[in-house]
Amino acid sequence: MTQFLQQMINGLSIGSVYALMAVGYSLVYSIMNFSNFAHGGVIMLGAYFGFYFLAVFKWPFAFAFFGAALGSTVLAVLLERVAYKPLRMRNAPFLYFIISAMGASILIENFVIATIGPTFKTYPQVLSREPFQIAALFIGRLDTMIFITSAVCLALLVYFIDFTKVGKAIRATAFNARVSALMGINTDMIIILVFAVGGFLAGVAGVLFGMKYTVYPQIGAVTIKSFIAAVFGGLGSLPGAVIGSVILGLLETLISGYFSSQFRDLISFSLLIIILVLRPIGLMGKPSEEKA
């Protein structure tokens, strides 16, 4: 029983990092109907920003954390302007967006390898490694912080999308971009905003990831899992992305814990495929013609 509860805690903590990353994929998808594969690159750069602010410039933690999030925000918007806007202006097919995104993602990764280097960097230790202990359960301080930060960020995001005027405009654009434009919504601004929000969350996710697991150019291997979680939860749906991520996190831990860690990816991804075959729009997705 103790082991089961401990594994649930492990799963939740892994899932909450996935969730922060997954909502970025979902947000962009809901507006632009394509998968922004360069999101992983923005997360990685966010982690590097955090590292440099903390370890090299010696900023206080809160500043470094916020600075990294802002840095990623700027970067995500820049990415949209450079890689996607020209395509949008020419009404290019969605496939072109995906190719452009993949190109940007490879470019960012290699840029970091060429300039900063391929080896990993270690964040200075911010929180004590002494875990909280409740009965026989151990909960890491950093994990608690990651979980709370993720939950707060996601709650704020839901509030922003569901209860503010701008959020309403985003939802309207997601529903039908052309009609919303006719109704006087500046869809170009909405797209920038969505990338900015996605970028901010990417920065937060990057720093949290870096603190827990170090920073390296190939973080993409983890972000791709969060992408899959987003698809599983239903691309375009925020609650779906969060639930999909938590389920993937729990699934991974329970399989490693009770079956075999070697089969973890095999089994968890087979299950995901089965669910998608039975329900192609994902757990909470809205029906959509194109899924990329």
């Binding site: 103790t2 594994q7 492990n10 875990p131 151990f138 890491g140 170090t214």
Partner: protein, 386 residues
């Protein structure tokens, strides 16, 4: 205006030429008792520091030997070529050493990637080679077949697993072990296999054996499972980044038992990332720089070259020792006779006793250095062979 050179000048020049030729011929006759020993390794590139140290070591030892009267009455001349860390270049170097320079034996290279492809040339030219720090099993044995002219002075990677198991059982007195390993890595798998085999043969129990895949960053599911099995020791045969992450996570889960690892551990980064988590852990390595046995050589080297000895230098020292011992026992400089003598090597080197197994061409049962992490420092404990 052009003046013909005077006849007497021409004669003089001819005379000088003849004299020089005569003297060099005489010198050549004098040096007939010189025997050539080849060395290959990286003198440029990433591994240049290690290669340079090896060549320095071999040259120094040859000089010392020559000053002391040489080997079987002959002087040893060391010829070293740069492989630039490249497998193709290593093959070329061996071709030159065996074809053109006619060396009787080759020491090096320092990496498995270069030591593996040279065997076909060695077999063609029938010259033995003693690799220094090439730890991949395939350097001497491929598909169960021993390569006749390849030898090595270091122990193979997986052997560290056996050392760790023996040390944990016999010296630390631990009886329940768990292993966490990288399923996608030969090195990690080899160490795990030998660890489990030795530990169970000695009478211990392996209570959990959990795997992860290279690239993973979270090990808590596996560690929680290990924790439930309540081991006295967790063996972690992989590299320092994963060691740092997994040891931190183990402590976060409240696991308090001893941790142990192989030569993938020693690194300043590991201390920086996981100082508290790995305190009191044990590491198995080829040798330790503070081992009393290596002190004499270290002092001689530093005196001559005024710089520190790298790990490779110590192993090059013992490779040279193996060569000298084999020549003495063969009582000949014939490469094939040296090869046959190498197969029955049993000498005490500074890195441990080197007893070559005829069937594997590896030093079997060689002692490894056991190092303990105390206050963020790697402290030498003892030499140990299972």
């Amino acid at each position: 205006m052009f003046k013909r050179p005077k006849r007497c000048v021409v004669t003089l020049l001819c005379l000088v030429l003849c004299l020089t030729l005569g003297i060099s011929a005489a010198l050549a006759a004098e040096q007939a008792k010189t025997v050539k020993l080849g060395w290959i390794g990286s003198l440029t590139g990433d591994q240049a520091v290690w290669g340079q140290c090896e060549l320095n070591t071999v040259k120094m030892l040859a000089e010392e030997l020559n000053d002391a009267g040489g080997l079987l009455g002959a002087k040893i001349e060391v010829i070293g070529y740069d492989t630039r860390g490249d497998a193709m270049e290593a093959v070329n170097c061996v071709r030159r050493l065996t074809g053109q320079d006619k060396v009787v034996c080759i020491i090096g290279p320092n990496a498995s990637g270069q030591a593996i492809p040279i065997s076909s040339i060695l077999e063609e030219m029938k010259v033995p080679d003693i690799a220094t720090v090439a730890t991949n099993p395939k350097v001497t044995v491929v598909d169960g077949k021993t390569k006749p002219f390849n030898f090595r002075v270091c122990f193979i990677d997986p052997y560290q697993g056996a050392v760790a198991a023996g040390f944990a059982f016999d010296v630390l007195g631990l009886r329940k072990a768990a292993v966490l390993y990288d399923v996608a890595d030969d090195y990690s798998q080899g160490l795990t296999e030998f660890f489990v085999k030795t530990f169970t043969e000695k009478g211990g129990t392996v209570v959990a054996k959990e795997a992860f895949k290279f690239g993973d960053t979270d090990f808590r599911p596996q560690l929680s499972k290990i924790k439930a099995a309540n081991p006295d020791l967790i063996f972690m045969p992989y590299f320092f980044k994963e060691v740092a992450l997994s040891s931190n996570q183990a402590r976060e889960l409240g696991i308090k038992c001893t941790l142990m690892g192989g030569d993938g551990w020693p690194s300043e980064v590991l201390i920086e990332m996981a100082k508290e988590a790995i305190e009191g852990s044990y590491v198995v390595n080829h040798l330790d720089f503070d081992d009393p046995d290596v002190m004499d050589f270290k002092a001689r080297y530093i005196k001559k070259y005024n710089r520190q000895v790298e790990l490779n230098g110590f192993l090059a020292h013992d490779a040279f020792l193996m060569f000298v011992d084999a020549v003495k026992r063969a009582n000949s400089f014939d490469p094939v006779a040296i090869k046959n003598a190498l197969e029955t090597t049993n000498v005490k080197g500074i890195t441990g006793t080197i007893r070559i197994d005829k069937d594997t061409h590896n030093p079997e049962g060689k002692e490894a250095a056991i190092i303990k992490i105390v206050d963020g420092n790697y402290i030498f404990q003892q030499k140990y062979a299972p």
